[in-house]
Amino acid sequence: MNLERDGDYITLSMGPHHPATHGVLRLEVTTDGEVITACKPDIGYLHRSIEKIAENLEWYQFVPYTDRVDYVCAMNSNHAWVCAVEALLATGAETKLEIPERAQYIRVLFAELNRISSHMIGLGAMTMDMGAFTPFIHAIGQRELVNDIFEKTCGARLTYNYMCVGGVVRDLHPGAEDEARAFLDGLEKVMREFHALITTNNIFVGRLAGVAPVSAADALSYGLSGPNLRGSGIDFDLRRDKPYGIYDRFRFDVPVGKRFAGDRGALGDGYDRFVCRSLEVQESIRICRQVLDQMPPASGKEDDPVGGWCVSKAAQKALRKPPVGEIYFRCENPRGETGYHLVSDGTKVPYRAKIRTGSFCALSIFEKICPGLMIADLVALIGSFDIVLPEVDR
């Protein structure tokens, strides 16, 4: 057997077709026995040149592609793009758009529901990587319920293409509010059992406690964002500190990591990130309930309920001639900050659209924190950062 020996080390090619790499991530791992001495991420296997495509499509046509930037939370990606384009339009004098109130609420509702369903994948896939298959399936089951609601409203289960510049494509289907409420109630119960089954399990805590702690300074420097940043103890959430849309109307807490694993753990370890993500689901449930309470009723008009680009003449006009200039717009997605750096040359096609994603930045820290971990820890680490590869490669 040829071990490609380099001194006493073994070089492992983990991926791109490895069960734990959540897609087509490849890690060049050098190990000393089971202990990793070096790890280099190798990405690009899922590169679809989405940024290049964006330079050849009109502003509204790019929305289906944002679904595919991060298909686990397509609704949030939609939201980030339309918010960014609307923010760009708002910098022009005559292109500022009025978004219907109901559409704003629907956007937040769906973004939060999709955050829940994305965290279901994140939490579930992490437990699956660590050998517990049952919690994963239970979490996926909850995601399916969210998809049922989305499917009835927008017609798709994965790539929603639901939000558009100026509003949303369709109004909620009849009974959507009740379905959402029922889902949230059921979710709370299921999540309690999920946590009883896995979060307090000694094996699970033992595998995550103290594994790859990320200090606050490192977390900032390496651009971690979202639950990964908050797991390291930094109290920062774009929804609260730089509110976009109508997030300033809702009351919610920002969960921050603080050595949840007790004496065995360290601040910013895998368990902190896991628990932060779990707590965020609860906060999303709170936001969803407030949205459902505050949402104005439908106008009753069939043709223009909430104002999409295809029905809103103002949006069509604005998108044909956006202001010249640039903008960097940041949104809080489940996997951290999704930023769009848009450069417009005043035509109906973007001049440049740079997409900054949470997973891409989270992957940059691997080279630093992996040495000293075991192979099993690396698997848990990928799960605890909730890496989603289409978002990395774009």
Partner: protein
């Protein structure tokens, strides 16, 4: 580590395991008895039908009678999978002669249907790629081209309508004519399920003329064969009759 800590670790481990086992046991019981929260969420597809809600974004369907050929859908499509052609008909009215949606490229985003001014372009509930299972709005089966070499034969609107009707109907109620049509269509070298890219396929004028010519030729050949057969039968009968006549004449002088 103190003795107490040691005991506590063991006890906590046993407790967590027991708790987990109790949870899964409850799910197992619920699922087995099909009651409560733990009952199965999945359906036994395809034995049980899939639950497709209204407004589902499935295969595209264009009602060509309503289509005004404004080409908005073609422009809105982010992956350029729609192409169409029009022509003037005998009443000097502009109408659609070819409307192709390449469903191997379509991403089902729905931008084309959002922008369609007449509402002729719609997304149906059909989602199964296997054309033998997918059912369009009219209840007939979709036809789509499978490989480039299977696309030689194209159909006109009437034929598509007819085929949709036939495939939607109970096979036992088909007339012989329909059966013959179906077998003719199926026996084309394109295979049994063919034509157009998906949804609808139409001739361009040249193709239509060519197809008409081929069909006329085929019809002529068939008529000729029938005529020959009839002539042969007639000749045989005549021979028989003459034989009989001869025999009767000979046998019964």
């Amino acid at each position: 580590m103190s003795i107490l800590g040691w005991v506590r670790e063991i006890v906590e481990g046993v407790e967590a395991t027991a708790h987990g086992l109790a949870t899964t046991a409850r799910y197992l019981k619920d699922n087995a008895t099909d009651t409560g929260d733990g009952s199965a969420m999945t359906v036994d597809y395809p034995v049980q039908p899939a639950r497709v809600p209204d407004g589902y974004r499935g295969h595209l369907f264009n009602a060509v009678d309503d289509c005004t050929l404004c080409k908005q859908c073609q422009r809105a499509c982010p992956i350029d999978c729609i192409s169409m052609e029009g022509e003037l008909n005998e009443n000097a009215k502009f109408h659609i002669s070819r409307y192709d949606i390449d469903l191997s490229k379509c991403i089902y985003c729905g931008l084309c249907t959002q922008i369609c001014p007449t509402g002729s372009l719609r997304m149906t509930k059909g989602f199964e790629i296997d054309p033998r299972n997918s059912v369009n709005e009219r209840g007939g089966r979709y036809l789509y081209r499978m490989r480039p070499d299977q696309t030689r034969r194209r159909m006109d609107t009437l034929e598509v309508d007819r085929l949709n009707r036939i495939t939607a109907a109970d096979p036992s109620t088909l007339s012989d004519d329909d059966r013959a049509f179906l077998s003719e269509v199926e026996d084309e070298r394109g295979g049994r399920f063919l034509f157009a890219r998906f949804g609808m396929g139409f001739y361009t004028p040249e193709e239509k003329a060519e197809a008409d010519r081929i069909r006329a030729e085929r019809k002529r050949a068939k008529e000729q064969a029938a005529a020959e057969a009839a002539a042969k039968v007639a000749a045989d009968q005549a021979a028989l009759q003459s034989d009989q006549a001869h025999g009767s004449a000979g046998g019964n002088p």
